[in-house]
Amino acid sequence: MSRISQAFEGKKAFIAFLTGGDPDIETSEKLIRTIAEEGADIIEIGIPFSDPLAEGPVIEDADERALASGCTVDLLFEMVGRLREDIDIPLLFMTYYNPVFKYGAAKFAKNCAICGIDGLIVPDLPFEESAELLLPLHENGLELVSMITPTSGERAVRIAKEAEGFIYCVSSLGVTGVRANLSDEIGGVIEQVKTVTDVPCAIGFGISTPEQAAKMAAISDGIIIGSAIVRIVAEHGRGSVEPVREYVRAIRQGV
């Protein structure tokens, strides 16, 4: 079993997302250490992109802040290398495909492996297009996390059969962002994919409160929280370490 899948062993996993380099690399590094200390099971580090099409305004603004502060993929590789001195939980990059493609997928995968990244989530690389990235990732011992959505229909089973790490189950249509009301329609899709795979299923998009986290954790193997954390970073900037610590602690207790 892979390191990513192992993070789900014997518990509901809490996966935290934040944009790398937001508001700057130094604060980002502190935030990741803090989130790990507070018991997150996996951390997704977003690589900021000029045009993050799957994101709502909260993460879009974070990407803009990170790029404005001079964040690059190379700086994030270095940051992850430093974090790996004292963090053992799986770390993933969440990235649009173009930064990987332009860097060179083979070189990108190699640098991920060197600095200690366990896998990638690439929202604009669906099942049909994933082959060109899978080969360099696998050659470097990395996994590619697949996504399924409430509209995946019969595709969900095909995706699940080839899934690795965990399956990112999108709670609802639309872009990332906090939602007041969260439907549990993805639960049916999860039940369906469970018949063909043992790979854990985690739900993301829209979760912000401990109650929502508990509700979504009950119908899956774990939950992903992004915009709610990034929103705190937006509000407190370099002073966001303690408010993020408090928030993550509350969520950890809820899951």
Binding site: F49, S50, D51, L53, A54, G56, P57, E60, L67, T72, V73, Y97, N98, P99, V100, F101, K102, Y103, P123, D124, L125, P126, F127, E128, E129, A131, E132, M147, I148, T149, T151, S152, G153, R155, I159, V170, L173, G174, V175
Partner: protein, 400 residues
């Protein structure tokens, strides 16, 4: 790099594909199935042909520009008058096709991006005709430089959203429309305006625009008894260009030339010349050439022409560039404005500033060709929308 992915669809050489989120995959698969079904259906094609003929005013004229030919003193110049279509540009060909398709698919609402506003106007027009709800996304900067088109869309019953993210131009309008679509795919069709985005859009838009080239070929053969030596069109995403070129792809004697927006010049950061300055990347659902930095961040591009102010190019153009099937040349703002004024004075035809990029290239090339040669320039749209912007460019105060 060889494309080894057997699952991937909609490839033009190594370009194209479907680089989109899982939620949108459902929508594009549904669209592809519907497109294949309806375009194999005689009734759909007859209905669309009827709309093109009786509503849009097709076929558009192929006009022999006699004064321009005399003045330039080289090849004979023909203008394909897409500017004479209802709504004033080639965009109506695709908008009627896609909105009709959306209606047949049972959708009740269409959304679209627009740059100069021509695609937004065409979509709003088709939606009004076919009783569909319509919302248009337009960069805030473009709503200002094309204020008249915003009001036209509103007159037609569409809701216009000014997009304030990023560079506030066409790229950001596409982002906003894709984000809107992903939140509402059940009742909504995204009428993409150019030969870009994920498969099947580059194919669908090309097929709906290919009427331009089919007409050019038959009209030209009727006028001259042979094929033209060159077909010249402007390229942003590239829909009027691929529409003009497609019928001639197997005719090796016909040079196909796409004219890109070079803004302040290809050596100046303020340009949108994707083939001249871009590199291969993956964005907006497709693999193609894009203006981007070394880390794959999409570049903020610039052109006087809102319709060509886009950091990418359709995947079929990328493949045609690589194979040499077509060539692509940069044209600056200054050259386009000069051509805009030249065609207005010489032929009494005010072209869209987008189309003026193609006119400019012809002005340079035609005098070098012999009098036995003949070229066709696609005038993709009319220039009424650009008059205020050209006045500003020239420092003329119109007291708007």
């Amino acid at each position: 790099m060889e494309n080894t992915n057997i699952k991937s669809k909609g490839r033009y050489g190594n370009y194209g594909g479907q680089y989109i989120t899982e939620t949108l995959m459902t929508a594009v698969l549904e669209l592809e199935e519907a497109y294949n079904h309806f375009t194999n259906d005689g009734a759909f094609n007859a209905e669309l042909d009827g709309l093109l003929k009786n509503y849009a005013g097709r076929p558009s004229l192929l006009y022999f520009a006699e004064k321009m030919t005399e003045d330039l003193g080289g090849a004979r110049v023909y203008l394909k008058r897409e500017d004479l279509n209802h709504t004033g540009s080639h965009k109506v060909n695709n908008a009627l096709g896609q909105v009709l398709l959306a209606k047949k698919m049972g959708k009740s609402r269409v959304i679209a991006e627009t740059g100069a506003g021509q695609h937004g106007v065409a979509t709003a027009t088709a939606a009004a005709l076919m009783d569909m709800d319509c919302e248009i996304f337009m960069g805030k900067e473009d709503t200002e430089r094309q204020a008249l088109n915003v009001f036209r869309m509103e007159l037609l019953g569409a809701k216009v959203h000014a997009v304030t993210s990023g560079t506030q131009t066409l790229k950001d309008a596409v982002n906003a429309t894709m984000r809107e679509w992903v939140s509402r795919i059940e009742d909504t069709h995204y009428v993409l305006g150019s030969v870009m985005g994920p498969h099947p859009f580059p194919m669908i838009v090309r097929d709906f625009q290919a009427v331009i080239g089919r007409e050019i070929k038959s009209q030209f053969v009727e006028a001259e008894g042979k094929l033209p030596d060159a077909v010249i069109a402007c390229v942003g995403g590239g829909s009027n260009a691929i529409g003009s070129f497609f019928e001639f792809l197997d005719d090796e004697s016909v040079a196909l030339v796409g004219c890109e927006a070079a803004g302040k010049g290809v050596d100046n950061p303020l340009n949108a010349a994707t083939i001249a300055n871009g590199s291969v990347g993956v964005f907006h659902g497709m693999k193609s050439y894009f203006c981007q930095d070394e880390y794959g961040q999409i570049a903020p591009v610039y052109s006087i022409s809102a319709g060509l102010d886009y950091p990418g190019i359709g995947p079929e153009h990328a493949a045609l560039f690589d194979s040499g099937g077509a060539s692509y040349v940069p044209v600056t703002d200054d050259e386009a404005v000069e051509a805009f004024e030249y065609l207005s004075r010489t032929e009494g035809i005010i072209p869209a500033i987008e189309s003026a990029h193609a006119v400019s290239y012809a002005m340079k090339e035609v005098p070098r060709l012999g009098r036995d040669k003949a070229v066709v320039i696609t005038l993709s749209g009319r220039g009424d929308k650009d008059v205020a912007a050209i006045a500003r460019y020239k420092g003329v105060d119109l007291h708007e």
